[in-house]
Each structure stands twice: as structure tokens, then as C-alpha cells.
């Protein structure tokens, strides 16, 4: 079975469409959404109209910090511009969408895989895994052979080495990486809807359970339209620019 793992969609409908179509063409049969379905982008409702039925049909989804923020509170942990997007998003959603968001669990497990938005260590604290120390702690806490996380928008692969330390590897897009059984692997799958590495294409990961491999993908999509919608909605200009520049 091939599992497409998509994270940080951030209300970017064009990028979501492109990644789902790409994953289907690669033979994905199961889908996992690692949170931050909303925030930043201009299509929150349209994105949920795609994702919620997929979850009803068996796809997995977990809560992200932006999704939690949409449900209420003052969003103290978000930057001002991001808060503006959250307030705007709240106005776009109806009760069914809010009900769907409330059902999202913090973590999810299936077989040898563990899914969480930020870190398996206290998921509600939304820690960023951006070095080998936090990565090692996360793998220890998850206890699974494979841990999939989002939150950090850069595609990265961590793995355990001797003595419990973690090593880091920057994957090459489109290259299948075998993940051997007696190590733990932590995959940061990248962001579907908002890039921060200077390159606009959307990112997601395909996990081939049968071949025991991970393939990171970058998928070109119509980011000009997505950016145009952000401007038309009156959302902060920097979120539109970010899609155009990829950073």
C-alpha cells in the first residue's frame, strides 16, 4: 500500500489539487493529513470540502496549531499577520467545518507509523523539529519505526544512529529512499501550501509500505492563482508574495 502524507496545506486549494493528483498518479491508495489544513491561504472552505470527505472515507488527519487557532482563542503563539489570516478564516467557516476540525486528534498511529503535526513529545506544545536533538527526542517519544511530522516546512529525513543519537539527511526530490527496519526514521514531509525554501512547488511525501521506502516529491502548481486569491481576499500581501517566491 502506498500512503501519501500531506501536511501544512494552509488553505491552498491549487497546491492541494496538484499534490492529490500527483499522488494518485503515483498509485497512492491511502492519505494522511498532518495538520495545518488552514491558515494563510484563501480557500479554507474549499480545502475542507475535499479533505473532510476523504477522512470520512478512511483517510487520517491530525490537528495542527493553525487548525486549533481557528477553533478559538487569542492565537498568542502566532505572528500578527498569521493571526489576521486566522480571524479571516474563522469568518469563512460554518458549523459543519468547525465540527469537523473539532474531531481531529492530536496524534494518530497505524501499523509501524506515528503521525503528528509538530512533535511526538507533548504535541500540544507545537515544538519545531529543526535539529537532531529534538528529532531524537521525538523518535523516542513516538516509539514507532516511522514518525511523520509537518509544522517545519522543510523536507528533511532524520534517523537513529548508534547510541540513540539522530542523523539528518536532506532528501532529493523524486528519489526513493529505502527505510530499513531496525532504525527509527523521522520524516518531515514538507508543506503542501506554503514553501519557505525559495522554491514555489508544493511538497508532500509518499510512503510505500510494501517496498519500505519514502519518496519526497515537489509538485509544480498554479501558485499565481493561489497568490491572486490571497490578494483578492484582502489577506496580508506577504502571504501572496511567499507563494510566488517560495520564501
Amino acid at each position: 500500500m502506498k500512503v501519501a502524507v500531506l501536511s501544512d496545506i494552509h488553505s491552498n486549494l491549487e497546491a492541494l489539487h496538484a499534490c492529490l493528483a500527483h499522488a494518485r498518479s503515483k498509485g497512492a491508495e491511502q492519505y494522511v493529513f498532518l495538520g495545518d489544513l488552514l491558515g494563510y491561504g484563501a480557500d479554507p472552505k474549499a480545502c475542507l470540502e475535499i479533505i473532510a470527505p476523504m477522512v470520512s472515507a478512511g483517510a487520517l488527519a491530525v490537528m495542527g496549531n493553525h487548525d486549533e487557532a481557528v477553533l478559538g482563542g487569542f492565537c498568542e503563539n502566532l505572528a500578527f499577520a498569521a493571526r489576521d489570516a486566522i480571524y479571516w478564516t474563522r469568518e469563512q467557516l460554518g458549523q459543519p467545518e468547525r465540527d469537523f476540525l473539532k474531531t481531529l486528534p492530536m496524534v494518530s498511529r497505524k501499523d509501524n507509523a506515528f503521525y503528528v503535526h509538530a512533535s511526538a513529545v507533548a504535541p500540544e506544545r507545537w515544538t519545531y523539529i529543526d535539529n537532531v536533538v529534538t528529532a531524537a527526542k521525538c523518535m523516542k517519544a513516538s516509539g514507532s519505526q516511522l514518525t511523520f511530522v509537518g509544522h517545519v516546512h522543510h523536507q528533511t529525513l532524520y534517523y537513529t544512529a548508534g547510541g540513540g543519537a539522530a542523523q539528518v539527511f536532506i532528501p532529493v526530490a523524486g528519489v526513493e529512499i529505502p527505510v530499513t527496519q531496525h532504525r527509527q526514521w523521522l520524516a518531515i514531509v514538507g508543506s503542501v501550501g506554503q514553501q519557505r525554501d525559495g522554491s514555489p512547488p508544493a511538497a508532500y511525501l509518499l510512503h510505500d509500505q510494501h517496498r519500505e521506502s519514502l519518496t519526497y516529491f515537489r509538485v509544480p502548481y498554479d501558485y499565481l492563482s493561489a497568490a491572486g486569491k490571497i490578494r483578492a481576499a484582502g489577506l496580508p500581501e506577504r502571504f501572496a508574495l511567499r507563494l510566488e517566491k517560495g520564501s
Partner: protein
């Protein structure tokens, strides 16, 4: 189940275990069979018991990852692997053939035989590099010969795939490899240079030609480090009548600084297959090591060498392409020859390490008169060669980047295609010629080369008046 001590006749998964064919410190090998198996197979079981060297674990894991991905005739065909926890094993094709180790036992070998054996090895290594993998443990025992003479490389436990995490590097943090063959850069912990494999090939050539190892088999780190600054005694010190071209090739491979070695295994394979084309430098006739001053300079550098990051093998290979230029010099097609020259100049400027092979094809059967015919062909051959050199002089490239060949054959396209395949040519540049009636009937050479070549072909047109 104790996999390292299986009795013949037992079944492991779907494999019927046969005799134990090798028992080493790192792994045990068995012949195995399976229902419907199309080729002979062997099972490799790593030693995982208490007290085993940790490299057994990592080596097994790395080989499992890399061998499963490699394709082509220069690696054993991969069949299956067991789970790491319960039944750690790999099943792959059993290559029935001699290993280079057996040949090395009879060293010193004649230079021609050594060149023939090692050219096949370099071809296999080039194929590996094309698949983004560096072997990093090339030694005679890991080189097997198929019945047709092609080399199969085995034991990928220390190999590096450039698109995957390097599990070996993180596991050891110290040089790993076979002490006689390991390259200087591997000794300082650098596992990302395809030219490390060329150094190992140089050690093998030295061994085959002289019967000695250029750096011995040191056991201590300081012994390993000697080769960072102390170059080996030239092979001619041991075998005074070793051909100069062979010493040139060996010492070219054994350059301490990887940048000074052959750019690619394909270039090395070419020189081994065409000894008369090897440009001889001071290396060729050297009888002593470098002077004390350069040894001291290298020693000083070895203390402060920084690790340099290298590009992935295919990127590296792309910068050192083999370019075949096919032309018909001196036939009054000056405009076309100038256009080809311009095209080659552009290619040579783009890639610093490219090799330009200037080739022309001579049609046989010039004359039916045996005696004079032979002489005529010989003088024509020389004439064409002179013309090729004359044409290429305008490129103003150093000699080591150029090779010249006058090929013979009735069908120019077939001759060029064969030559391109045998010499790992990455691009063919040739002229589009003629609208003559004869060509219309026979079909043009360039059209057939374009259709059938397995590399890029550039067909150059003379600017129309």
C-alpha cells in the same frame, strides 16, 4: 535459527540451502536454489552474533539498500532479503567466474593482460558511478569476471549512494576500507569522491604489474596516513621494462590529490584499451619517489586538509563527458569542418574535463592489388591521422584532452556506433553531409547514427551560402 551455521538441505523462507562456499569474518555465503530460479544464487548471511564487528550490521544494511537498487550486468542480480531481526540474509545472483584475486596471485602479469583485466573493471566502475553509487571498497576479491570477460562488482557494504543517507559515515567516524586499497581522501573521512574508486584501481594495476602493493597493508592510522604525502615507488623501480604507458596510467590513478587523477573511470578504461594513445608525461619514466620538498609540502597540507564537498557522481560525470567527433578531414569541405570546430569548441569550453576523441573512418579495399594496396592503406591512414591532428590543433586544447583514431570499416555508421558504445561516449558531434545522389540512395551516415546511438548526437550543418 542460527543462520551462520546452516546444514545443506535446510529451507530458509523459499530457499533451499546448499553448500557453504565461504566463511569470513563478516559474513557466511551459501549456494541456494529456489523453485523456478533462473540463475545460480547465493545467500549472504552477516555475522550478527555477540562480539561481531559493528560494521557487520551496517554493512548488511547498506548492501541491502544499495544492491536492491542497482541494475545492469556489472552487479550481481538481486533476488531477496530477509528481515533484519529474525532472518538477516541477502540472496543474489551467484557469479560463476574467477575473481581478480586469483589473477593477482600470479602477479606480476604482462602489462597487456593487466590492462585488459583492469579495463573491464574500469568499465564496471563507470557503470556504477552512472547509477550514483561509489563502491569505496574496490579490491581484487570484490572483482569477479563473467565468462564473457565483463566484470561484476560485489560487496557493497561500504558503498555510498548519493541520494540516500550515508549510514557508514555516521556509524564509524573513522576511515573504513581495505588498508591496501583505500584512497587518501577516504583516510581523512571523505566518502563522497568518485575518484576514490580510481585510486583503488590504480593500486590494483600496480599490484598486477609488479606483484607488490604500493602502500603495503598498514594496520595503524599513522600507517594509513603515509599515503597522504608519500607517493609510492614508481612501478618501474620493481619492473624496469614495464611499458611507459602503463606506469603513466598507474601513477595517474595514484595521484594523492583526487583532482589530479583521471576525471572518470571511462577515461581510464579508454586509455587501458588504447595504450598507444596515452600521452606520456614525466610520470611515465620516473624511477624514484617525489623529492623531499614535495613530500614535506604534502605532509604539511595533509595536516590541514579541509574536507571538500563533491558533487554527486552523475553531476561529476556530466562535467567530464567523452565527446566523439567524427569528421572527414581534407576533402574540401572547409565550411563544414569549421562549423564542426565551432561546435566542439563550445562543448570543450562548457566542460573542463571533457575528452575529445577525433575520429575518421577509412573505407577498406582501396585496391585489389595486395602489395601496393596495403602500403596505400598505411599511407592513407597516416595521412588521415595527420589531418585530424591538424584540424584539432585549432581547438588549442592540451594534449591530454584529445585522442585521435583512424577507424576502418565499410560501413561508417556501424563503425562509429560500435566505437561510441565501447568507449562510453556521451556525445557524438558529426557533420551532416552531402545531397549527392549516392547518399540519397544509401542513406546518410549521420541519420543512422542519430537513430541508433545510445547517446546524444549533434549533427552540424555548414552555414548555407
Amino acid at each position: 535459527m542460527e543462520l551462520t551455521n546452516l546444514q545443506p538441505g535446510i529451507e530458509v523462507d523459499s530457499f533451499h540451502v546448499g553448500e557453504k562456499i565461504h566463511e569470513g569474518g563478516m559474513a557466511v555465503l551459501y549456494r541456494v536454489e529456489r523453485q523456478g530460479g533462473e540463475f545460480p544464487m547465493l545467500m549472504k548471511v552477516p555475522r550478527m552474533e555477540f562480539g561481531s564487528h559493528p560494521s557487520c550490521y551496517v554493512g548488511f544494511e547498506v548492501e541491502q539498500m544499495i544492491l536492491g537498487k542497482l541494475t545492469g550486468m556489472h552487479v550481481p542480480r538481486w533476488v531477496a532479503s530477509g528481515t533484519f531481526e529474525d532472518t538477516p540474509y541477502l540472496v543474489m545472483e551467484y557469479v560463476e567466474g574467477r575473481s581478480l584475486h586469483e589473477y593477482a596471485d600470479h602477479a606480476p602479469l604482462p602489462a597487456d593482460q593487466a590492462a585488459h583485466l583492469v579495463a573491464a573493471l574500469a568499465t564496471a566502475v563507470h557503470d556504477l558511478h552512472r547509477q550514483e553509487v561509489i563502491h569505496l571498497d574496490i579490491k581484487p576479491a570484490n572483482v569477479l569476471y563473467r565468462a564473457g570477460g565483463e566484470v561484476v562488482l560485489v560487496d557493497f557494504g561500504l558503498a555510498r549512494h548519493f541520494h540516500w543517507p550515508d549510514l557508514v559515515e555516521e556509524a564509524f567516524h573513522k576511515p573504513v576500507g581495505s588498508s591496501a586499497y583505500i584512497s587518501p581522501e577516504q583516510i581523512i573521512g571523505n566518502r563522497d569522491n568518485p575518484r576514490s574508486d580510481l585510486f583503488a584501481i590504480g593500486v590494483i594495476l600496480y599490484q598486477l604489474c609488479t606483484g607488490r602493493l604500493p602502500f603495503g597493508e598498514p594496520t595503524s592510522l599513522s600507517g594509513f596516513r603515509l599515503r597522504l604525502f608519500l607517493d609510492p615507488l614508481p612501478p618501474r623501480h620493481w619492473v624496469p621494462d614495464l611499458p611507459a604507458w602503463m606506469q603513466e596510467i598507474i601513477l595517474h590513478c595514484l595521484e594523492v590529490d583526487a583532482e589530479n587523477r583521471y576525471a572518470t573511470a571511462a577515461q581510464l578504461a579508454f586509455d587501458l584499451a588504447h595504450p598507444d594513445q596515452v600521452p606520456l608525461t614525466e610520470r611515465a619514466t620516473r624511477l624514484k619517489r617525489s623529492g623531499l620538498s614535495s613530500i614535506i609540502r604534502r605532509w604539511w597540507q595533509s595536516l590541514r586538509t579541509e574536507q571538500r564537498k563533491h558533487e554527486v557522481p552523475t553531476t561529476h560525470l556530466a562535467q567530464a563527458p567523452q565527446i566523439l567527433v567524427a569528421l572527414d578531414p581534407g576533402v574540401g569541405q572547409e565550411a563544414l569542418l569549421r562549423a564542426i570546430l565551432a561546435a566542439v569548441r563550445r562543448a570543450a569550453a562548457a566542460d573542463d574535463n571533457c575528452r575529445i576523441m577525433c575520429v575518421t573512418v577509412l573505407e577498406p579495399d582501396i585496391s585489389t592489388d595486395q602489395e601496393t594496396g596495403h602500403e596505400l592503406v598505411n599511407s592513407l591512414y597516416t595521412q588521415r591521422l595527420v589531418e585530424l591532428h591538424h584540424w584539432a590543433a585549432e581547438l588549442q586544447l592540451p594534449q591530454y584532452r584529445l585522442r585521435f583514431h583512424v577507424l576502418e570499416g565499410a560501413n561508417a555508421a556501424t563503425v562509429l556506433l560500435d566505437y561510441a558504445r565501447q568507449n562510453h561516449v556521451d556525445q557524438i558531434i558529426m557533420g551532416a553531409r552531402g545531397r549527392s545522389g549516392l547518399r540519397r540512395i544509401l542513406g546518410s551516415v549521420s541519420a543512422r547514427v542519430v537513430a541508433e546511438a545510445r547517446c546524444t548526437v549533434t549533427v552540424v550543418h555548414a552555414p548555407s551560402a
